[in-house]
Every structure is written in C-alpha cells, then in structure tokens.
C-alpha cells in the first residue's frame, strides 16, 4: 500500500515530468466545461423563454436530447462516432478537431452541462416576480436593459442552489474522461489499481480526492449563497 502511494501520489495530484494528471486534470476539465457551458446557457436560456414558439421549441429539442441520453453515450458518439464519418476525416479542420480526445471530451461535457444549465436558468427567469419586471418597465427600461439590469441578475442569483448542484454533478461526470484515455484522477486510480492489484486502496484514494473537491465546492457555493442570496434568507436567521 505504501509503495502504491509513494509511486503514484504525484500522479494523483498533479502529474510527473511535465505531464499533468490527476486532480489538476479533473479540475481543469470541470472548470473548462462549466465555464463554456455557462456561456452557452445564457443565450440559450433566453431563447428557451422566448415568446417565439419556434426558437423556444428548438432550444427545448436541444436540451431534451442532451438531458434524455447518457453523457457516456454522448461522449462515445462525439469521440468515436463522429470521427468514423468519412466526411469529417476528409475535412482538415474537422479532422483536426475530432482527432483529439481532450477536445472531444470538452465538447461533449460542454454540450451536456449546457443543456442542464439552460433549463435551470430558464426556470429561474420564468420565476422572476412580475413586480420586478413592472418596476423596470415603469422606469422606462428597454427590453435589453431590463434583462441586463433586472431579470438576469435576479434570476442567476435565484438559480444558484440548483446551479451549484449541477456544477458538482459535472465534477462527478468528468470521471467519464478516463474512458477516453484522459489522465484524470480516476484514470490514475485505474492504472495504480492494475499495477499493484490493490483496487480498494487505488480507488479509495480517488474517492477521497473527489470527496474533498466536492466538499470544497459545496462550501464555496454556500458562501456564495450567503452573499448573493442574503435578501432571500428568512428574517430570523439573518439576525442570528
């Protein structure tokens, strides 16, 4: 057991000899896909609540497709499926993009978390109280200003609890990257497990690392909620 830890601890955390692996890769996968997913979800959640039925339905089709199928299948489809198409291999730019496991993984993670985040944000936008919108209108705000100053800041704050859940689920979902040969925490654990025939120790360390990151995320979102949702806390708690 000590041998396993001695040989693999660096790989579990940040990698060796300029080859990043483990925790660093997991965090990078999570941050990148969550940020890109967020950028995708902002315009799409606006499209989702659009009064134009075509725009709204098209967005629903996207979110339904990606929420109704397993992320593992989406990853396989993007990583192995798309690259098997002759048209993709024949186009230099597409060939360049889909050849790389990391790019394919990030693409599938982004599209997946983007779909869930779109629905979370759209739900929060729909739940904006009419009084806030009326107040904005009474100030003579245009629709754009109204969204920028009133609806989005208010909705994104209220979406925080559900969004924090999605971010943690995304952290957990990054484990699928190990199936696409990316050296995240789980991939290091799989290598260590087969190297030493100590599955409990190897996977146990991985579980512990994920647990620590999950708790840190929960805690930081808790702080964020205290700050940005202070106005929605019950009065009694606020005094305490």
């Amino acid at each position: 057991m000590m041998d396993l830890i001695k040989e693999y601890w660096q790989q579990y955390l940040w990698g060796t000899e300029g080859r990043p692996s483990g925790m660093v890769v997991t965090l990078w996968l999570t941050i990148l896909s969550v940020c890109l997913g967020f950028m995708l979800a902002i315009p799409l959640s606006l499209a989702r609540v659009s009064t134009n039925p075509i725009i709204s339905r098209l967005t629903l089709a996207y979110t339904y497709l990606f929420r109704g199928t397993p992320l593992y299948v989406q990853l396989l489809l993007i990583y192995t499926g798309i690259y098997s198409l002759h048209a993709v291999r024949a186009t230099p730019l597409l060939n360049y993009f889909f050849r790389d496991a990391f790019r394919c993984t990030i693409l599938s993670f982004t599209l997946n978390t983007g779909a869930y985040t779109t629905e979370i944000f759209a739900g929060a936008i729909r739940a904006t109280s009419l009084g806030e919108i009326e107040a904005g209108r009474a100030f003579g705000m245009s629709t754009l200003t109204l969204y920028r100053r009133i609806i989005l800041p208010s909705a994104l704050r209220r979406a925080l609890p559900a969004y924090s859940n999605e971010v943690i689920l995304m952290l957990h979902a990054t484990t699928l990257a190990s199936t696409a040969t990316i050296a995240d925490i789980l991939k290091v654990a799989r290598n260590a497990a087969s190297d030493y025939y100590l599955p409990f120790v190897a996977y146990g360390i991985a579980a512990l690392l994920y647990l620590v990151v999950s708790f840190l995320l929960v805690w930081s979102f808790h702080l964020a909620e205290r700050k940005w949702l202070a106005h929605l806390r019950p009065a009694i708690k606020r005094m305490g």
């Binding site: 397993p70 299948v73 098997s84 994920y210």
Partner: protein, 232 residues
C-alpha cells in the same frame, strides 16, 4: 447501411432489455433503501440518524463511476483472496447483480433525501390524528404517511429514475452487455469487416435511451395526475 442495424437488431433488443431490467431493479432497491434511510435520518435516536447522514453525505460526494469501480473491484478482490485462502476456484461476480447492488446503494442515498423532504412535507397534524386513532407506527405509515408523501416525492422520484436510467450506461464499463456495450461490440464487429458504422450504432443507442426517457416522462405525468387528485 440500415440493414446492418437490423442484423444487430436482436442483440440491440437484448441490450435494451438488460438496460431496462437493470434500471427497474436498481430503482426498486434504491426505493427501499431510501425509505429506510429517510426514516433513520429523521429518527430522534442518534444511533440511527448519524450513520444515515454519513451514508448520504459520503455517497453523494463521490462520483458514481468511482464508487462502482471501487465496490466492484474491491469486492472481487476480497472474494478472490477468500477463495484462494480456501484453495477453491475463483468466483466471478456477475456484472448485472453488481450493477443492481451498486446503483441501488448509490441512488438509495439520493432517494433518502427525496423521501426525507417528502416526509417533512406531510402536515404534523395528520400524524397526530393517526396517533389519536390508536394506529400503530406501521399502520400510520401505510395508511396516512405513504399515500400523502408520494405526492411530494413524485417529482424527485421521476428525476431519480431518469438519472438511474442513464447511469446504467456506466455498468457496461464493468462488463454488462447493455445497449452501450452491444453498440460498441457491433462497432468492433463491423470494423473488422472493413466498415465504419460507429456513428450509426452509437446514434441508435442514444435514440433507444431517448425513447425510454420519453416513455418514462409520459408515465410519470400520469402518476403525478393520479397522486394529485384532490389538489389544484
């Protein structure tokens, strides 16, 4: 090209059946664990509530794939050590059984939270009335708590079911012949004959999951209507 999908059609069907069976059995197991977990978590006795809290916190903090590999390979390792010690031949754990146990254990933690919320949503007066009628705890649960709790729990149950259905795809990683594994085998089978139908097979697998999701959405919509009779 489509004839190829039909050639693998019966295998894809068997994979689909395996996926649905796995999902349903896991749902049943996690449902039972969830009810017991919620009861334990709400118990005034710390010897019940503490372990339940540790269980839900640990399980929900670790990715399901990590838990699956951890439990599957550790248990297989333990079993091998025991059979070696007694000089017996090795016993291979069945991936289907392992999948049901692991998914049941993982989603039991999520169901514990769902049911805990639903238990708390039933007005206290209902339980006091049941006690005043001299009902036993079992009777109170069966006649009063459970039917009313289900209305609050259904959205959560529906959500958990959809998550379990998709999580079954992970069990192919430990060797179950589900839809995903059949599709992957079909890809390898056709590639050896010089054809590249990876996209087609994976798309078919995705569509099967989508169909299952649509059917379950519709089913839960009907259930929701049934349990909300008398409200709205």
């Amino acid at each position: 090209m489509t004839s190829l999908v039909f050639a693998y059609g019966s295998q894809l069907w068997e994979g689909t059946v395996a996926t649905v069976q796995l999902a349903l059995l896991s749902l049943g197991l996690s449902f039972v664990i969830g009810l017991a977990g919620a009861a334990a978590k709400l118990s005034a006795n710390r010897w019940y509530s503490m372990p339940a809290t540790v269980y839900t916190t640990l399980i929900r903090g670790v990715p399901d794939l990590v838990l699956m590999l951890l439990l599957f390979y550790s248990f297989q390792d333990l079993l091998n050590r025991i059979t070696d010690a007694f000089k017996q031949s090795q016993i291979e754990i069945d991936p289907f059984l392992a999948g049901v146990c692991v998914l049941g254990l993982i989603y039991g933690a999520y169901f514990t939270e769902t049911f805990r919320g639903a238990f708390l949503a039933v007005p206290r007066g209902q339980l006091e009335a049941a006690a005043a009628f001299g009902m036993t705890q079992g009777q109170t649960f069966r006649r009063i708590l459970f039917p009313q709790m289900m209305r609050f729990a259904l959205p959560g149950i529906s959500n958990n079911w959809q998550v379990i259905l998709k999580a079954t795809a992970l069990v192919s990683i430990i060797g179950l012949r589900d839809v995903v594994r059949v599709a992957q085998d079909a890809i390898t089978g056709t590639v050896s004959k010089g054809a590249y139908y990876a996209f087609l097979f994976l798309l078919t697998a995705a569509l099967i999951y989508l169909l299952l999701a649509i059917v379950s959405d519709w089913f839960f919509h009907i259930l929701m209507k049934r349990y909300s009779v008398g409200f709205r």
